[in-house]
């Protein structure tokens, strides 16, 4: 589904990603871990098309299409969803209005008619249950005055509603208490299917107790330096990142 080939990304003149190779198949969950400043969030943003990241080299193929040639909105319409580390507040714009605009933009892209208001509200009700979200939350403005946990839940709720083929969750677990973490993870697990894939970006192993990944990658200094199964995450939890850093730095 997703093929990243020798991807190099810089901000201004500083190279952050120095040749990423990654292959994600439908039905898989990948976890990308790594110490602070290793380039995890840059990778997420580059996939979503944030413009101040410069792709200097390499390709991102999504079902064979080169994503780097698409605008951020077209990437989203192709089925890429980014769960933001810091979801943005949009005062005065109701969640209902926001999501209806979003879903209808995507439908239009696929040549579908706009979703009738009644059907849309029904869909919202269904998806709210997935993430155990309060009815009240969807009546408020986008993320405005939401607590940290509510914002993260709201990201998963949007993901449930928009049904992406590839979801990238950027530090979705940061700042969550244990209950919110359980709810968010449940939501992600319920949405897992053989047709879609998920990339989880996280600093801690904790989230991976709830969402069990198929593959774990370690990102360090802009490169994927180690990949393995879920046991790699546990190893990192026990020993930290230092042994990997030493291994990498010794080879250089």
């Amino acid at each position: 589904m997703l093929e990243i080939k020798d991807l190099k990304v810089s901000i201004e003149d500083k190279e952050i990603l120095k040749g990423i190779n990654l292959s994600v198949k439908a039905g898989e969950v990948h976890a990308i871990m790594g110490p602070n400043g290793s380039g995890k969030s840059t990778l997420a943003s580059a996939l979503a098309g944030r413009d101040y990241f410069n792709i200097t080299h390499g390709k991102i193929l999504f079902d064979g299409k080169d994503l780097t040639e698409l605008t951020p909105e077209d990437r989203a319409r192709e089925g890429i969803f980014l769960g933001f580390q810091y979801p943005v507040e949009i005062p005065g714009v109701s969640m209902v209005n926001f999501l209806r605009t979003a879903i209808n933009s995507m439908r239009k892209y696929r040549g579908q008619e706009p979703l009738p208001a009644g059907d849309f509200l029904k869909l919202m009700r269904e998806k709210k249950q997935v993430v155990e979200i309060d009815s009240d939350l969807t009546n408020r403005s986008v993320n405005e005055g939401f607590s940290g946990g509510e914002k993260k839940k709201n990201e998963i709720f949007q993901m449930a509603l928009l049904e992406p083929r590839l979801a990238i969750l950027d530090e979705t677990d940061s700042g969550l208490d244990i209950d919110a973490l359980r709810i968010v993870s449940n939501g992600v697990n319920k949405l897992r299917s053989p047709e879609n894939a998920t990339i989880i970006i996280t600093h801690y192993q904790r989230l991976l107790d709830y969402i069990v990944p198929d593959v774990v990658h370690v990102l360090y200094k802009g490169r994927i330096v180690k990949s393995g199964d879920k046991s790699l995450a546990r190893e990192l939890e026990e020993h930290g990142y230092d042994w990997i850093k030493q291994e990498v730095d010794a080879n250089n």
């Binding site: 979503a48 098309g49 944030r50 413009d51 605008t71 951020p72 909105e73 989203a76 319409r77 969803f81 980014l82 933001f84 979801p87 943005v88 507040e89 949009i90 005062p91 005065g92 714009v93 209005n97 926001f98 999501l99 605009t101 979003a102 879903i103 933009s105 995507m106 892209y109 403005s141 986008v142 949007q158 928009l162």
Partner: protein, 481 residues
């Protein structure tokens, strides 16, 4: 160029939808302004002697005045002798019967979305349509007359209700008030008059639609609304003009009188031609709007959505004389390209326990300048007066300006006056968040701007709110990249 700049350029580059001109025979008088011209206008309108005299008095006073320079506006010198002060579609002044109305005129108002045939109109909105210097047609007059409500053109009111006009005209905005008020009082052409008798709740929205059509003319209308004790009326005003390379002058007066327990809601969607992308052409909009809460417990509420005009100079105000009276001002002012707006309000607290609320939302894009200017004045006797003001500015791009000039004069120690102001830039983060959910940048901006202005848009009557939302999107089309 960043993405945001690109979209800004696109959004600011959109076309004005109402820029067409109607080919219709128009009767005009020669350019220029002197006592003779004032007399001609008065004669054309077959006015009584006292009104002619009142116009001349205003004209003589205007000649002694200078155009105000205090606003944050750059206006090229206006040659008042180069303007036509009266223009009227030929074929008699007013149409009694729809069959008599020139089809071109009907078509004009249809294209503006204001059908003049009553059966085609939105149920519940009566319209007075004013083209250049005359009122073309007022709808639903009979329905309203059943309740004793008078809703007609200003010229008709002078003929049919001279006592009311004599009593109230100039009682809120005297001709000495300011330069443009004096000019209007000398040469005003037409406008609307509305009288709600005691105890009557007006069953429909009343509205006036102003259209400038003829070239080189100025539009100088007057609106007078009188609400007797225990009455209620909601009044709407809309305006458009053709696209022209020359600037055209619009100087209007609106007066509102609210007696005991009366409530008047006045909503404006101002969409005069703003000029082109390079700042050529557009309407100079100099308007004096003021209401007096004369009776106890009365209320006047101004809501305005200002998207048009090359220059806007406008401060809808409330004089809160009655005890417990309430004044409100809700405003969204959008400027794009080279537009300039200096707008706000004055709340004058005279009576005890008077309250006022000011919510102003400025949105600047392109190379425009957008200023809020507001005065809250609490007089000695206004015990327990309360004011809350909130002035927000939103900037799109980095070539525009937003300014806030609040003035507070408080002479009573029991008064509580609050002022909050914020300035924000439309965030790239917000736009990207929308993009990531499949919403393109243009729609994202429209969503964000409408969200920002929601508090004010919610105050508009339903049909108007929808129009206003679309208008905001169109005005900002092409303004972020």
């Amino acid at each position: 160029m960043t993405d945001q700049e690109k979209i800004l350029n696109e959004v600011t580059g959109s076309d004005y939808k109402f820029g067409f001109q109607t080919e219709i025979d128009t009767e005009t008088i020669p350019k220029g302004l002197n006592e003779e011209v004032v007399r001609i206008i008065s004669a054309k309108k077959e006015e009584p002697e006292w009104l002619t005299e009142s116009r001349l008095k205003a004209f003589r006073h205007w000649q002694t005045m200078e155009m105000p320079q205090w606003a944050h506006l750059t206006i090229p010198k206006i040659d008042y002798q180069d303007i036509i002060y009266y223009a009227a579609p030929k074929q008699g002044a007013k149409y009694e019967n729809m069959d008599e109305v020139d089809p071109e005129l009907l078509d004009t108002f249809n294209r503006l979305g204001i059908p003049l045939e009553e059966q085609k109109q939105l149920a519940g909105v009566a319209v007075d349509a004013v083209m250049d210097s005359v009122s073309v047609k007022t709808t639903f007059q009979d329905t309203l007359a059943d309740k004793g409500i008078i809703f007609c053109s200003f010229s008709e009111a002078v003929k049919n209700h001279p006592d009311l006009i004599k009593k109230y005209m100039g009682s809120v905005v005297p001709y000495t008030d300011n330069y443009f008020a004096a000019l209007n009082s000398a040469v005003f052409s037409d406008g609307s008059f509305c009288y709600i008798p005691k105890g009557v709740h007006c069953p429909m929205e009343l509205s006036t639609y102003f259209r400038i059509n003829a070239a080189n003319t100025g539009q100088f209308e007057r609106t007078l609304i009188v609400a007797e004790d225990d009455s209620y009326v909601s009044y709407l005003e809309g305006c458009t003009a053709p696209m022209r390379d020359e600037n055209q002058l619009h100087a209007a007066i609106v007066e509102i009188v609210a007696m005991e327990n009366a409530e008047v809601k006045y909503s404006t969607v101002q969409n005069w031609y703003p000029g082109d992308k390079n700042g050529v052409g557009g309407i100079y909009n100099f308007v004096t709007k003021r209401g007096i809460c004369k009776g106890d417990n009365s209320k006047i509420s101004w809501t305005q959505v200002e998207t048009g005009s090359a220059v806007t100079w406008k401060y809808p105000s409330c004089i809160l004389r009655g005890e417990n009276s309430v004044g409100e001002f809700y405003s969204v002012a959008v400027t794009n390209n080279y537009q300039q707006a200096d707008t706000g309000t004055k709340m004058i607290h005279i009576g005890k326990n008077t309250r006022s609320t000011i919510i102003s939302k400025g949105i600047s894009a392109g190379k425009s300048q957008n200023s809020y200017r507001g005065l809250v004045k609490v007089l000695k006797g206004a015990k327990n007066a309360r004011n809350y003001s909130q002035c927000d500015s939103l900037l799109l791009g980095d070539k525009c300006g937003a300014h806030t000039f609040p003035y507070l004069e408080v002479d009573n120690p029991s008064a509580v006056v609050e002022h909050e102001a914020t300035t924000s830039k439309i965030g790239e983060d917000q736009i990207f968040y929308c993009n990531q959910r499949g919403i393109d940048t243009e729609n994202a901006i429209s969503l964000i701007v409408n969200g920002y202005a929601k508090e004010v848009l919610n105050k508009l009557p339903m049909e108007f709110a929808v129009e206003a939302q679309k208008l905001l999107a169109i005005t900002l089309e092409g303004s972020v990249g």
